[in-house]
């Protein structure tokens, strides 16, 4: 029952996102330096954090797949990367808009934070083509998991290296030395972080549920038409679920 509790989760997420939006725009004070423009912070930074955490989570799910051989872990990892990529695109767009307003440029190639995030995104952009390039579903799942683990390790390493290096234009968020988020800003930031996490989890569960329903329908169609084993499988980057009928 993958859809169990999804309605309550969706409602909570919608409420949290609405509350975050209202708090960010009306309750949090304007930044002394950036003014109203700093409001982008409440959507851009939590999205970036959740994107990177999502990639790491996908790596952990891929480890579970490699250890158990259970195709459900492959699906979970695949969906985690998919949702994180979508969030990552939102990070790049909101970041570019903010950069244009604050620095007068859509993109700054000299800054390691921006370029490293782009590198991570480009790395994960190869995930789907990699899957699509492999015909055999089992081999596809295995190779994809190895990719997810390797890339999942690269993400925190890349993040740590960038944090250790000098910052050019992109500010450091939640820096131990110069943490200067005042009370209300901090509350709204953590609220935004929670609501973006909820959004990620909701979308992830939504897609997992949809994938399982589709797989169950395919299995049912196969049973009814009795052509399941004869029909040639369509080439796809999406993971194949095995033993769908037995799972709940």
């Amino acid at each position: 029952m993958y859809g169990k509790g999804l309605r309550a989760l969706s409602l909570t997420t919608a409420l949290a996102v609405a509350l975050t939006l209202a708090a960010a725009l009306y309750w949090a004070p304007n930044d002394a330096y950036l003014g109203f423009l700093q409001k982008i912070f409440y959507v851009h930074v939590p999205l970036a954090i959740i994107t990177l955490c999502g990639f790491v989570a996908a790596g952990l799910m891929a480890i579970a797949h490699l250890r158990t051989g259970d195709s459900r872990w492959d699906v979970r990892s695949y969906v985690a990367i998919h949702i994180s990529l979508i969030f990552g695109v939102a990070v790049l767009i909101t970041g570019s808009i903010w950069a244009r307003g604050a620095w007068g440029h859509w993109w700054v190639w000299d800054d390691p934070t921006l370029v490293s995030f782009l590198l991570v995104m480009l790395l994960y952009a190869t995930y789907q083509p990699l899957r699509f390039a492999i015909d055999d579903p089992e081999r596809q799942a295995r190779y994809a998991s190895v990719f997810a683990v390797t890339a999942g390790v690269f993400v925190p390493v890349c993040f740590a290296v960038v944090r250790l290096g000098p910052s050019y234009v992109h500010p450091r968020t939640l820096d131990n030395v110069n943490s200067n988020l005042p009370g209300r800003m901090q509350v709204v930031f953590y609220l935004a972080l929670v609501s973006m996490t909820l959004l990620w989890v909701t979308l992830w569960r939504f897609e997992i549920t949809a994938k399982h329903v589709a797989a169950q329908l395919r299995a049912l169609r196969g049973l009814l038409t009795e052509q399941a084993d004869d029909a040639p499988a369509r080439r796809s980057a999406a993971p194949t679920l095995t033993g769908v009928g037995s799972e709940t």
Partner: protein, 66 residues
Amino acid sequence: MIAIAPLPLHTAGPYVAGAYIAFFLIVLAYVAIMAAKLSRNERTLRELTEQVRRRSEGGDEENGRR
């Protein structure tokens, strides 16, 4: 450092609105794609239900003839 002086509200407003709208549009596009997939699943389910119904009606007729 490329940073410039803080923008006034009327100048910063469109950037903030643009960022938030972009974020919501991305989420909306994703939900719309998922909704399209859901309706495809619904259609498949209808077809399968119809197949089962026809099959059971055929079975009933066969039993009736016997």
